[in-house]
């Protein structure tokens, strides 16, 4: 299963504030709205989707219902939205795999950009490089030293093949020259379990599930993948400090509608979602996930998606991933 954590090349985005387009709250939506989520209930994507659904329900005075359709890296959910009526009453909460899938599959039955009307970016996240608690390294440079010289290589837990964290691992191994063996797990949770138990050496992990373990001293945090240090962990270096030219990637979560959805509906949704993401509840979720929520107009979000897709395809080709 592909997990909702992802990365993409950092691009110099100017976070524009939401468009102040005039909106007629009365006209949209004409009935209940379904928010289709391509991930199982309980994960980050689902949590964000539910926060957004709750906020939109209050703002538009119509029920916004979350409909989980996990499977095939979100492709089943995306297809359902691509095929829906373009009346803004079917929305997709997508995650990194939406663009990443183009690097993995040959024949997606939809176009991740052209078949959709991008509405709003919800959040972008980076990850942490963790080591098991009883591994004799304390810093990133010691880890690199160990990884480059270990006779049998070192092991990297991968939480879900084809996920953005898998791509991060591939990228790290290629850039650092560490002799790492990828150990695939069906998701982030079992991968962290094995890291905690000391069965694997390293792992790229999302913030939310790692922070409590780091604070308890059960695992060691070595680096962050973001371009700058994380304000909550000022002592933790960024990977790019040790590996020059390390390509920075983020994971993202965003809302899209079916292509052809009226522009004024898109603008209204964008404005409402931007508001919701500033709310206390959304901020709690974001800070737990170590995520930021740059505000973007629908146009910016579309440009973001296009560049993101190109970035994944480049990484995929670089790592010689065979498309299926």
């Amino acid at each position: 299963m592909i997990k909702p954590h992802g990365y993409l090349f950092a691009l110099p985005f100017v976070a524009l504030s939401a468009l102040g387009a005039p909106l007629d709250a009365q006209s949209y939506p004409s009935g209940p709205v379904t928010i289709i989520v391509g991930a199982s209930a309980g994960g980050t994507t689902d949590t964000l989707a539910r926060v957004v659904a709750q906020g939109l329900t209050e703002k538009f005075d119509q029920p916004f219902v979350v409909d989980n359709r996990p499977g095939a890296g979100g492709a089943i959910a995306a297809q359902a939205v691509a095929d829906a009526n373009a009346d803004g009453r079917t929305l997709l909460v997508a995650f990194t795999s939406h663009t990443l899938n183009t690097a993995l599959f040959n024949d997606l039955p939809y176009d991740p950009i052209d078949d959709f009307e991008p509405i709003s970016l919800l959040a972008q996240v980076s990850s942490l490089l963790l080591a098991r608690g009883n591994l004799e390294v304390e810093t990133l440079s010691e880890a690199l030293e160990l990884g480059r010289n270990a006779p049998d290589g070192v092991t990297f837990a991968v939480g879900g093949l084809g996920s953005s964290l898998h791509m991060e691992t591939l990228k790290f191994l290629a850039e650092s020259g560490v002799a790492g063996i990828e150990i695939p797990f069906p998701g982030t949770a079992p991968a962290i379990t094995d890291l905690l138990g000391g069965h694997v050496d390293f792992m790229f992990a999302p913030f939310a599930s790692s922070v409590p373990l780091i604070e308890a001293g059960s695992v060691k945090a070595l680096a962050v993948t973001s371009p700058e240090r994380n304000p909550n962990f000022p002592d933790l270096p960024a990977v790019i400090e040790a590996i020059e030219g390390y390509p920075i990637t983020y994971g993202w979560f965003g809302v899209l509608a079916t292509a052809g959805t009226p522009q004024e509906d898109v603008a209204a949704l964008n404005e409402a979602i931007t508001d919701i993401m500033q709310s206390e509840r959304a901020q709690t979720v974001l800070s737990d996930e170590g995520a930021s929520a740059p505000q973007m107009s629908p146009e910016d979000f579309k440009a973001f998606l296009i560049e993101d897709m190109a970035a994944w395809q480049a990484i995929g080709e670089n790592a010689e991933i065979e498309r299926q």
């Binding site: 299963m1 199982s40 209930a41 309980g42 994960g43 689902d46 949590t47 539910r50 926060v51 659904a53 709750q54 979350v66 409909d67 989980n68 359709r69 996990p70 499977g71 095939a72 492709a75 089943i76 993995l104 039955p109 049998d152 290589g153 092991t155 093949l161 084809g162 063996i181 150990i183 695939p184 797990f185 069906p186 949770a189 079992p190 962290i192 379990t193 094995d194 905690l196 138990g197 000391g198 069965h199 694997v200 939310a208 599930s209 922070v211 409590p212 373990l213 604070e215 308890a216 059960s218 509840r281 709690t284 979720v285 737990d288 299926q324």
Partner: protein
């Protein structure tokens, strides 16, 4: 004692009127959802999640948890009465619970189920209170090699389900093969999907369980059974187990609870495996194993206790490590995070009141469940008095709605049709469905753990013997096989000639 102080602290939280109310709402909904075939706690909790936005964190978790363990109580009701398991763990209840219902002992089966559920849950909770930090650590010691060995133990146990080892073995292998459908975790290659993208995640457990037991059973019985198994009036007496039922059930509940507590605490093992293990254990211990499958009461009480014990101890890795054991627990974790509580090793110390309040409310919830469920038995048993021709179309729709609700996908309905066709043909040829389902559950896990263990040991098979826990389990398997061989030999030696269908 320190624990008592904490329980006192927990009581203060748990006995507040709002917590008591939400605990009751949770267990009540859980019971209903458990009884409805197909709709499981997962669907119910995800539907209830938005409602909890308006509650405090402890109210929300108490209610959602109530739904979760409450559903374990009702889960076997449909399996016993209609041979319609809503989950893989309640599929075990079909094996002996349904024959009991056919013999007119549905009331007894449901009564003992409730008692076993209560017993198991309370046992699991005791373990949770006494050892939570320690069990989490024990669970972590299990690496891929150990998990693989545990699964192998499960498969060896599965061969004892079937009274015909060759056919049972064939069903296990077929189940393993069917489990290969979908994306291979290790290579990402998609196998046996025949170009259907929906199959990339594999067949769902609910569709398998419903198709194998529910659907095949309808085809077999329709137009043959007229009025159901027991048209007799229902009395309180017919519900109470007789002394020999008690004598057989109580120790079985104890063993089941032990097995369930252990497997529940292992992250990733889940409630279904513990139910199967408990069943296989009982059959192995029984003096007359041939009673199993024909309404042996231990075959109902042990798995049911195991189920509920593991539903309680499943909270251990979730709360103390922040690692969910299954999807439902992942949802609970999401609910905690949404309320600003981060589960993890420090939860017990930083959120002392919340943790102990939860534990004590679980206890209260289980007591509520006991008093909620016993009076309901009479109502459920009356379902059996409805003529079968009125009942099966309703069951059919329940199957359809149930499998649809798993992923909100119509495709699941077509999978259950295909599984039902295969299951009926297999049943017509006298193959048993239970070993097939267990093979299906264990297949992907075994493959995954085996390959990961070998990746971690750099391809060295000796890892399974070098690691002490793994070696210990291996020895248990060897002992079990030896016992099996010995028993077979003893039973056959007085007879001459080829015994029926041993390999």
């Amino acid at each position: 004692m320190e624990t008592l102080e904490f329980i006192g602290l927990g009581l203060q939280t748990a006995l507040s009127p709002s917590i008591l109310w939400y605990c009751f709402v949770g267990v009540f909904l859980g019971t209903l959802i458990g009884v409805l075939p197909g709709i499981g706690p997962l669907a119910a909790i995800s539907l209830l999640l938005p409602v909890t936005f308006y509650m405090s964190a402890s109210e929300a978790i108490v209610m959602l948890a109530g739904v979760y363990y409450g559903a374990q109580y009702g889960g076997s009701t449909a399996a016993i009465l209609l041979r319609l398991p809503g989950t893989a763990s309640s599929a075990v209840a079909c094996l002996d619970g349904h024959p009991m219902a056919m013999q007119g002992r549905a009331g007894v089966a449901l009564f003992i189920t409730t008692i076993a559920s209560f017993f198991g849950a309370m046992f699991g909770l005791t373990i949770l209170i006494l050892f939570s930090p320690h069990i989490a650590q024990l669970g972590l010691m299990f690496g891929s090699a150990e998990y693989f060995m545990l699964m192998l133990l499960g498969l060896v146990a599965a061969c004892t389900f079937s009274n015909a080892p060759l056919r049972g073995g064939a069903m296990v292998v077929l189940g393993l093969l069917i489990s290969m459908i979908g994306t291979d975790t290790n290579s990402g290659v998609i196998r046996y999907t025949f170009g259907m993208r929906e199959l990339a995640g594999g067949l769902t457990l609910v569709a398998m369980a419903m198709g194998l037991f529910g659907l095949a059973d309808i085809i077999r019985n329709v137009n043959l059974i007229d009025n159901s198994k027991m048209a007799k009036g229902f009395t309180l007496r017919s519900m109470l187990p007789n002394p020999s039922d008690w004598r057989l059930s109580l120790p079985a509940m104890g063993r089941g609870s032990l097995i369930g507590s252990f497997f529940g605490a292992l992250p990733g093992a889940g409630t279904s495996i513990s139910a199967y293990m408990a069943y296989a254990g009982e059959k192995r211990l029984a003096r007359k194993p041939e009673r199993f499958g024909n309404g042996a009461i231990e075959g109902v009480s042990a798995p049911e206790a195991a189920n509920n014990a593991s539903a309680q101890t499943a909270f251990v890795p979730t709360l103390t490590l922040g690692i969910p054991g299954d999807v439902t627990m992942a949802l609970m974790l999401g609910a905690l995070i949404m309320h600003g509580i981060t589960p993890g090793p420090q939860l017990i110390t930083t959120q002392t009141e919340l943790f102990w309040g939860l534990v004590v409310s679980f206890m209260i919830g289980n007591i509520m469940l006991l008093f909620l469920n016993i009076p309901m038995i009479g109502i459920w048993v009356n379902i059996l008095r409805i003529p079968y021709r009125w009942l099966y179309p309703a069951i059919l729709i329940f199957i359809g709605v149930g499998v649809f609700s798993v992923n909100n996908s119509v495709f699941e309905i077509y999978t259950v049709v295909a599984i039902g066709a295969l299951a009926y043909i297999l049943a017509a040829l006298r193959f048993e469905p239970a070993p097939l389902l267990l093979g299906f559950i264990l297949g992907p896990l075994m493959e995954e753990y085996f390959r990961r263990a070998l990746l971690l040991s750099r391809g060295n098979l000796s890892t399974f013997v070098d690691r002490p826990i793994s070696f210990g389990i291996l020895m248990t398997i060897v002992a079990l096989l030896a016992l099996l061989a010995l028993q077979t030999w003893r039973r056959r030696s007085p007879k001459t000639g080829v015994s029926s269908d041993a390999p």
